[in-house]
């Protein structure tokens, strides 16, 4: 290893580490970054560039580095596009180079460099625009060529946390300016946080310090997004500890002390390994004791180069020359180092790393004087183009920038409430920076954006083609759109555009800064909300019973509802058939606790119900229930359910499972915003009740077996009536309503007693072979009965009349949506009506979602007559049936149509029927 004996303040020479890069084993020290360790081991080429596959090395020393991107780790923890300059070395670290094939030093894609005149700015747009049908082929090709590393295919074995916090003052950046500001801010007892993206951050009194923490985004009202990398510096996180933590911090005010990033200079072949930002070169020596080369040339437009030269010389690097682009300077002499003013580097050489630079004096126009070039051998070229304040979070907050001539860059101009920018981020930089010069060139590339391979020629071409706005330039050339967000390239890109347009740089403007400052992992953004925790799961009081008794579950909103209950190895179709027939011929029970339940109290409830349902509710007597349909104000069906009149000024409404929340918000809106004068109080009571439906011709017999003070005969509890009573000492409400079309009762008890009720029902029906049934049987039963549901049939575009509910629409009162019924669109011919379908052959299943057509072969002249909504196998009828929404469907019963599946191309001939397949007169449910 090449290490200076005394320099290297961050490394611990007592803690050697070994790691591999592209399979080779190397040694480094604790405190190294992957970049510094590779440099110490003489590895110069780190990867291949994005577009031209040119060899690239280490260019910077921190988050600004555009080119030293590596594939980190392997297997499930593999992570592409990691900046080697920020990866902390650990024992056993595994990294690979990216974007090369078959190997880093012999890359086939580099051949592209030879045909690069065919890859100008806007290349993708121009080449791959037309014809559109070829796009999938182009896309495949582009993705293969442009891939920057590979993401892991297996699930991430680590976990990520998300935390919310508040502080009075958030200081971003742990340099001198940030530390001073944090200390100052803490003096009055304020809660101060100081965060820094680097590993080293010394503690401060009365300040919460967080190292390895990047403030990546500024959001509204003082919210900041931070990522703390708690496990990235380890082979794997400590047991139980997260890999990363996403902090969402609401800060009273923020102090931005994020420093400044050095700008490169633009000249031919300025991307070779061995060309580094001057400040970075000095850091590798001072921080890690690594000399980035043996013989250096420094090219600069400002005084910082002289300090870098001193550091390099102290570190044993021979500094052959300082090339100062400016005409004159007051700087000191440096022993053994040639200093050339008014000169520039105009080209470089070295296939796998820098070997030589070409310099030339500049003429009055700032271009190289012809035939005056000189070659200097060197393996390190330090570029010092001045510093650009890191104002990202200030700009994300809407802060405006202004151009300062003395430092040739943008600095904060406006005040942003709650944000103070300090130190070099605020432009506290040495002046005397030379203006950017634009060197003429032959065919050689002058890179501006090293990550996206955008050259000065690309910017000029874009300007010639009319891309005059810097935002358009960015999108057209992809300048600054890489994972580095153009930290080193944006200003040089603007300067090149200003030059091409012959406008002063400040007039060109600057692209909008957007979060994130550096890439944030999806894992951190997701936090714990993965897998089973992606959404909360709602559980009914009977969930455990369903789980213990082999139910197969299906998601219904946030609920997991039993889909069916297979017996032994029973197939789904057989189980559903058995459950359906149990309801039709015997008795079965189903958990319907998921239906929304809203309690309504107040003197105006009846009036309110009258306004929200299409049918009348004022005549509903205590002890009775009524089915109701709600519309939106545009006349489309919004929800349906039943309302029971419980007592004076007291009703209970049920909603569909999925719509319980939206219905509650809808009712609250009309009560609070539209009719605040109505006296109605709403309470969601879904979670307070366990509700079980007992359905089938034997359901009354089953209930009569219960230990209860209630009577269930027709006279005592008629169809659509409800009664309160006790079932085995549990206070219960029994509603005689039916979804299946059979004699049925819905039994409601307080949640805690749900399981007891269920067991009592099973016990009472044991001799009749009562069984539980799931939602698939429920769907089959309601489809046989011709009931539409929200979603498949009532999909937000269907009116009550479309569903055949025209007779329900009250003409005696106003209600939500009524006015819309007179709109031409709702009265016109040709609306989709609910119909039933049966396959003509009586046996072929009808594809759900199929398009209805009036002929077997699709084509432009085929009438598209609607679509299939729900398709089931009717166990009762012994054949497949379906519901469909069909154009003028009510007038087409008996007609033959074809159902065309857009998914698998199946075409099934069907007959249009009435949607009610069984018991059209409703005798069974009144039995």
């Amino acid at each position: 290893m090449n290490r200076h004996p005394s320099m290297g303040r961050l490394i611990d020479r007592n803690r050697p580490l070994s790691f591999t890069f592209d399979g080779e084993t190397y040694r480094g020290y604790h405190g190294d970054t992957l970049a510094s360790a590779l440099m110490a081991n003489g590895v110069r080429v780190i990867g291949r560039s994005f577009k031209y596959h040119r060899p690239r090395g280490i260019f910077g020393a921190g988050s600004e580095d555009p080119s030293a991107l590596v594939q980190m780790r392997a297997g499930a923890r593999a992570e592409p596009n990691m900046r080697a300059t920020q990866v902390e070395l650990y024992e056993g670290l595994v990294a690979h180079s990216q974007n090369n094939w078959p190997s880093l030093n012999w890359d086939l894609g580099a051949a592209l460099g030879l045909v690069s005149r065919f890859l100008p700015a806007g290349f993708y747009y121009k080449t791959f625009m037309w014809p559109g049908k070829f796009w999938p082929h182009y896309e495949h090709l582009i993705r293969n060529m442009a891939g920057m590393g590979r993401s892991a295919k297996a699930a991430d074995p680590d976990h990520y946390e998300k935390r919310h916090a508040h502080c009075d003052v958030l200081v971003i950046g742990g340099g001198a300016a940030g530390r001073t500001a944090a200390t100052e801010a803490a003096k009055d007892g304020s809660l101060v946080w100081l965060v820094d993206e680097n590993a080293q951050l010394e503690a401060l009194d009365n300040v919460t310090t967080m190292a390895r923490t990047t403030a990546f985004g500024k959001y509204d009202d003082g919210l900041y997004g931070l990522v703390e990398r708690t496990g990235d510096h380890l082979a794997k996180p400590e047991a139980g500890a997260p890999r990363q933590i996403l902090w969402l911090v609401r800060a009273g005010r923020m102090i931005l002390a994020s420093g400044a990033i050095e700008r490169p200079l633009v000249f031919a072949n300025n991307d070779r390994p061995g060309i580094l930002l001057a400040s970075a070169a000095a850091r590798y020596l001072a921080d890690y004791g690594v000399a980035p080369g043996k013989r250096a040339v420094i090219v600069a437009n400002n005084d910082s180069a002289y300090d870098v030269a001193s550091t390099l010389i102290e570190g044993g690097v021979e500094v052959a020359a300082i090339i100062d682009q400016r005409h004159m300077t007051t700087r000191r002499e440096i022993a053994g180092c040639e200093i050339l003013h008014n000169h520039a580097v105009i080209d470089t050489a070295g296939r796998h790393g820098l070997r030589r630079v070409t310099i030339a004096p500049l003429d009055v126009d700032g271009d190289a004087v012809p035939q005056s070039e000189r070659l200097i051998d060197c393996d390190l070229l330090c570029v010092a183009g001045g510093f650009t304040p890191s104002v990202h979070l200030f700009s994300q907050a809407g802060g405006k920038l202004t151009f300062r001539d003395d430092i040739q860059t943008m600095v904060p101009k406006t005040e942003v409430p709650g944000i103070t920018v300090v130190g070099t981020a605020n432009g506290e930089l040495d002046g005397g920076i030379g203006a950017p010069i634009a060197l003429s060139r032959g065919k050689a590339k002058q890179f501006i954006d090293l990550q996206n391979d955008v050259t000065a020629a690309d910017v000029e071409l874009a300007a010639r083609e009319g891309y005059r706005s810097v935002e358009h330039l960015k999108r057209y050339t992809t300048l600054g759109m890489g994972t580095d967000q153009g930290k080193t390239s944006n200003l040089n890109g603007i300067a090149a555009l200003a030059n091409a347009l012959d406008k002063p740089l400040p007039d060109v403007g600057i692209t909008t800064y957007r979060a994130p400052y550096t890439p944030v992992t999806i894992g951190a953004l997701a936090g714990r909300e993965v897998g089973a925790f992606f959404t909360p799961t709602r559980r009914t009081p009977l969930q455990e019973w369903h789980e213990d008794n082999g139910a197969v579950f299906v998601p219904a909103g946030l609920w997991q509802r039993p889909h069916y209950y297979p017996r032994g190895g029973e197939a789904m179709a057989d189980a559903v058939k058995r459950e359906v027939l149990a309801v039709r011929e015997n008795v079965a029970i189903v958990d319907v606790s998921t239906l929304g339940r809203i309690d309504l109290h107040g003197v105006d409830v009846a009036e309110f119900l009258n306004r929200v349902y299409i049918n009348g509710f004022k005549t509903l007597a205590i002890g009775m229930c009524r089915y109701g349909v709600m519309l939106r104000d545009d006349g489309m069906i919004f929800d349906d359910g039943t309302v029971a009149h419980m007592g004076d000024n007291h009703y209970i409404m049920t909603t569909t499972t999925a719509n319980a929340g939206p219905v509650m918000a809808h009712l609250e809106y009309y009560l609070q915003v539209v009719w605040p004068d109505l006296d109605v109080r709403l309470t969601s009571i879904t979670d307070q009740w366990a509700v079980v439906a007992v359905a089938g011709p034997q359901s009354r017999a089953l209930l009569e077996n219960l230990d209860s003070d209630m009577e269930f005969a027709n006279q005592a509890l008629p169809f659509m009536g409800w009664r309160a009573g006790e079932i085995g000492n549990i206070a219960a409400q029994v509603f005689r309503i039916s979804f299946s079309g059979e004699l049925a009762y819905e039994m409601a008890v307080p949640s805690d007693h749900g399981h007891a009720l269920w067991e009592m029902l099973l016990a009472a029906g044991k001799d009749m072979d009562v069984i539980p049934y799931g939602t698939e049987a429920l769907t089959t039963l309601r489809t046989e009965k011709g009931h539409f549901v929200m979603g498949p049939e009532a999909d937000g575009r269907a009116s009550a009349d479309d569903m055949g509910l025209g007779r329900m629409l009250s003409s005696k009162k106003d209600f939500i949506g009524r006015r819309s019924l007179r709109l031409p669109a709702l009265m016109t011919e040709g609306r989709l009506n609910l119909v039933g379908l049966v396959p003509t052959d009586g046996k072929t299943a009808i594809p759900p979602g199929a398009i209805m057509g009036n002929r077997e072969t699709p084509g432009p002249s085929m009438e598209k007559a609607g679509h299939v909504a729900t398709s089931v196998f009717s166990a009762t009828l012994g054949k497949p049936i379906a519901t469909a929404m069909v154009t003028n469907g009510r007038q087409r019963h008996g007609e033959t149509l074809w159902a065309h599946s857009p998914v698998d191309g199946r075409v099934v001939q069907v007959e249009v029927t009435d949607p009610i397949f069984i018991d059209a007169k409703g005798e069974r449910l009144r039995a």
Binding site: Y219, D220, D221, G222, L223, L248, R250, G398, P417, G418, D633, D634, G661, A665, E668, Y669, Q672, V673, V674, P676, D814, R818, R819, S820, R822, L823, P824
Partner: protein, 97 residues
């Protein structure tokens, strides 16, 4: 994330609320007397304001009250937030900067 200062619950992140739309659009009090054009305008047509705008927000994860929020849609600055049922002048809660 915008902070809304609910007059009942205090300052809360906007993820606790749902947005409905323009608070200045009033439902006609007698819809049957309204012509088709005006009704369709009430149902579907909204102005796209620049600058301060009155909006309806529902505190669904809090007090479940519908609130009238005056907000600059350019800067996201919340100018006021009050309960629709209360006296709008009396209930105004100034939001944090």
């Amino acid at each position: 994330m915008i902070l809304l200062t609910c007059p009942h619950c205090g300052p809360r992140g906007i993820s606790e609320f749902t947005y409905r739309g323009d608070a200045t659009v009033a439902r006609p009090t007698a819809p049957e007397g309204v012509d088709d054009t005006s009704w369709v305008e009430y149902l579907h047509l909204r102005d796209n304001h620049k600058g301060p705008h009155d909006e309806l927000w529902h505190h669904v994860q809090g007090c479940r009250r519908w609130l009238r929020v005056r907000r600059d849609v350019v800067t996201h600055k919340v100018i006021s937030c009050c309960d629709l049922a209360g006296d709008p002048a009396g209930d105004v809660a100034e939001s944090n900067p």
